[in-house]
């Protein structure tokens, strides 16, 4: 069975796991060899399906099902690993790629074999320049060791993996915008359908999976679906990396089974909030979250795809931002709205105009120049955007403002320009 407690962040227990030699000493690339030499591509997909693995990029879509959707009438197939990691509060893929890069790359290779792609890309946000350089040298080491290239393990399967750097645009994390960007175009989302499984990179069937999703795959192939299902919950199996940030004493990445409670993450792992403060709200999907009121019921809620909506939130990429009693909600909303206004790609009017007007209103509220009806106006602008945006960015942008007006209304009616955060008061 697995040689340690971690499934993903194994570098925390095994020193130098970012060296190919060390990774292989710990069983690395046995799963790829097993898949390529002893399993049919469809069998690999079946195991991943049976494991219940769900996409870790935010939407929680079943990974095996996604691979099975690939159109076998159209060739070639491609795989693109989503290493854009730009959601505020998310910093897990980066740790994987820095600490345990070969397990991720092995996952890319197994996925590529399962869908019979011979070329895969890792699309990294432009800021991950150093990570891309290191991945390039890891890929070279794999080629030199015969783990990439022609005729892998004596089979007739060949594969190449390449990195591609973005250049600073959150929207390129959205899978169709990412494909446009990789094709050398503006990173703007495509109309769907068609979906990438039929019309993806260069118009060919393409799997897009998140880095963390793919990093699970070698372990699943090695130890099987039942082993994987022994972690997490029935509908959300397996481990998850929770990126914990904001008002906590020990921010960082925590690998825990899906279904762990917020209370455990924030207090046991994160050491609670700074002395004298209490938890006021939780954003569990980064800036794209609604604000969950941090009462006992919320704190005792299991963090999985099914349970978080019960307390008015989303699990998303599990970027848990903790908001304590020192933080002003209007200040916070101005931050998130400003983010989306900056990152809106401008392709569709509801999002381009809506984020602009929300930004205008939140700034006025913060500056104390708002009229009393501006809070309702802000709420309405968000309501008018709902369901009308071309991609999820526009829909995400209204989560925090609308939920906070619903749940923390009194803070908007207080005198403006109150303390921002404990730290910023100086």
């Amino acid at each position: 069975m697995a040689d340690n407690g971690y499934v993903l962040l194994r570098h925390r227990e095994i020193p130098d796991l970012d060296s190919l030699e060390v990774y292989r000493k710990h069983g690395g690339f046995q799963a790829l060899e097993k898949a390529v030499t002893r399993m049919k591509p469809a069998e690999v997909t079946e195991v991943v399906k049976a494991s219940g693995l769900r996409g870790r990029g935010g939407a929680g879509f079943p990974t095996g099902l996604k691979w099975a959707f690939m159109d076998n009438q159209i060739w070639p197939h491609y795989v693109v690993a989503n290493a854009d990691e730009s959601e505020p509060g998310t910093f897990k893929d980066r740790e994987i790629m820095e600490g345990n890069p070969y397990q991720f790359l092995e996952g890319v290779a197994i996925c590529a074999y399962a869908v019979q792609a011979h070329l895969a890309y890792v699309y990294l946000r432009g800021e991950f320049w150093q990570i891309a350089e290191r991945l390039d040298s890891h890929l070279a080491a794999m080629e030199a060791a015969g783990l990439l290239g022609e005729r892998l393990f004596g089979s007739d399967y060949s594969l190449r993996i390449r990195t591609h750097l973005g250049a600073g645009a959150y929207i390129c994390g959205e899978e169709t915008a990412m494909l446009e960007s990789l094709e050398g175009k503006l990173g703007q989302p495509r109309l769907r359908p068609p979906f990438p499984a039929t019309f993806g990179l260069y118009g060919k069937p393409t799997v897009v999976n998140n880095v963390e999703t793919l990093t699970n795959v070698p372990r699943i192939i090695e130890f099987g679906a039942d082993w994987y299902r022994s972690m997490g919950t029935e509908k959300s199996p397996g481990p998850k990396i929770f990126s914990l940030s904001g008002c906590v004493n020990k921010p960082g990445n925590y690998e825990l089974p899906l279904g762990t409670t917020f209370r455990h993450l924030i207090f046991e792992c994160g050491g609670g909030v700074p002395e004298g403060n209490s938890v006021k709200a939780i954003m569990s999907a980064g800036a794209s979250s609604s604000l969950i009121v941090a009462n006992d019921q919320a704190l005792d809620t299991p963090m999985d795809y099914e349970s978080v909506p019960n307390v008015g939130g989303q699990l998303g990429s599990a970027s848990v931002i903790v908001i304590d009693s020192s933080v002003s909600i209007p200040w916070l909303i101005n931050k998130t709205v400003h983010f989306f206004r900056h990152e809106s790609c401008g392709k569709c009017t509801p999002c381009r105009e809506g984020t602009f007007w929300m930004g205008h209103l939140t700034q006025r509220i913060l500056d104390g120049t708002a009229k009393p009806e501006d809070v309702d106006l802000l709420y309405d602008v968000g309501g008018q955007m709902r369901g009308k945006c071309l991609c999820a960015l526009g829909e995400f942008s209204i989560e925090a403002p609308r939920s906070s007006i619903e749940r923390f209304r009194s803070e908007f009616d207080l005198a403006p320009s109150q303390p921002k955060t404990a730290v910023d008061q100086g």
């Binding site: 990691e85 730009s86 959601e87 505020p88 509060g89 998310t90 910093f91 893929d93 980066r94 070329l119 946000r125 432009g126 800021e127 991950f128 320049w129 150093q130 350089e133 390449r162 591609h164 750097l165 973005g166 250049a167 600073g168 645009a169 959150y170 960007s181 990789l182 094709e183 050398g184 175009k185 503006l186 990173g187 260069y202 990126s243 914990l244 940030s245 904001g246 008002c247 921010p251 960082g252 990445n253 980064g286 800036a287 970027s319 931002i321 908001i323 933080v327 916070l332 931050k335 998130t336 983010f339 900056h342 990152e343 790609c345 921002k420 955060t421 730290v423 910023d424 100086g426």
Partner: protein
């Protein structure tokens, strides 16, 4: 019009390596790495670069230029030789990033978004850089790439800038000694 070959002559191997990453009939995919290459020695991309990249890939100057406008890590104007990009997004701001940026700018006597009078560094606030547990933090962008600096203090940042200043004046001297221009 004579085709310009500045990048082709300066970086023949780099260009070939970039083109080799993509299927032969999909050259356009190489546009982003080529833009980084054009930006390498002067931290911005000029019209001639855009034209040359367009010529290499068989697309128009306008198409190449639109990418420079869309992506934030490309520049079409000369600014500082280095860009210090401080993350002031929500998680970092909850850990003092706004104050860090303000103090750093104060100590340098500039406003966020401005460049130091010697043209060395531009300081800018940016969105989340996936280092939210290590605030205050910033990235240093130069033509040669990007480096993260995490768990920073204003003093750290100032001494980094001091070091960059020394390196830059060292480079100017040695360039003069070799009897030619500095970079770019």
């Amino acid at each position: 019009m004579l085709e310009r070959k500045y990048l082709a002559e300066k970086y023949p191997q780099e260009i070939q390596n970039i083109l080799d990453k993509y299927p032969a009939e999909q050259r356009r995919s190489a546009v982003m790495p080529l833009l980084y290459l054009a930006q390498r020695d002067k931290m911005y991309i000029n019209r001639e670069d855009l034209q040359e990249i367009g010529d290499i890939l068989g697309i128009t100057l306008t198409e190449v230029a639109s990418l420079v406008g869309f992506y934030t890590l490309y520049y079409d104007q000369p600014k500082g030789v280095y860009h210090i990009q401080v993350c002031t997004d929500l998680p970092c701001a909850l850990r003092g990033a706004d104050r860090f940026l303000a103090e750093l700018c104060d100590r340098l006597g500039i406003q966020p978004g401005e460049t130091t009078p010697d043209g060395l560094v531009t300081i800018e606030p940016v969105m989340c850089l996936a280092a939210c547990d290590k605030a205050p933090m910033f990235q240093l962008q130069s033509g040669a790439g990007l480096t993260y600096y995490e768990n920073q203090t204003v003093e750290n940042a100032l001494s980094l800038i001091e070091q960059l200043r020394k390196d830059a004046s060292g480079r100017r001297v040695s360039a003069r000694e070799r009897g030619r221009d500095g970079n770019g």
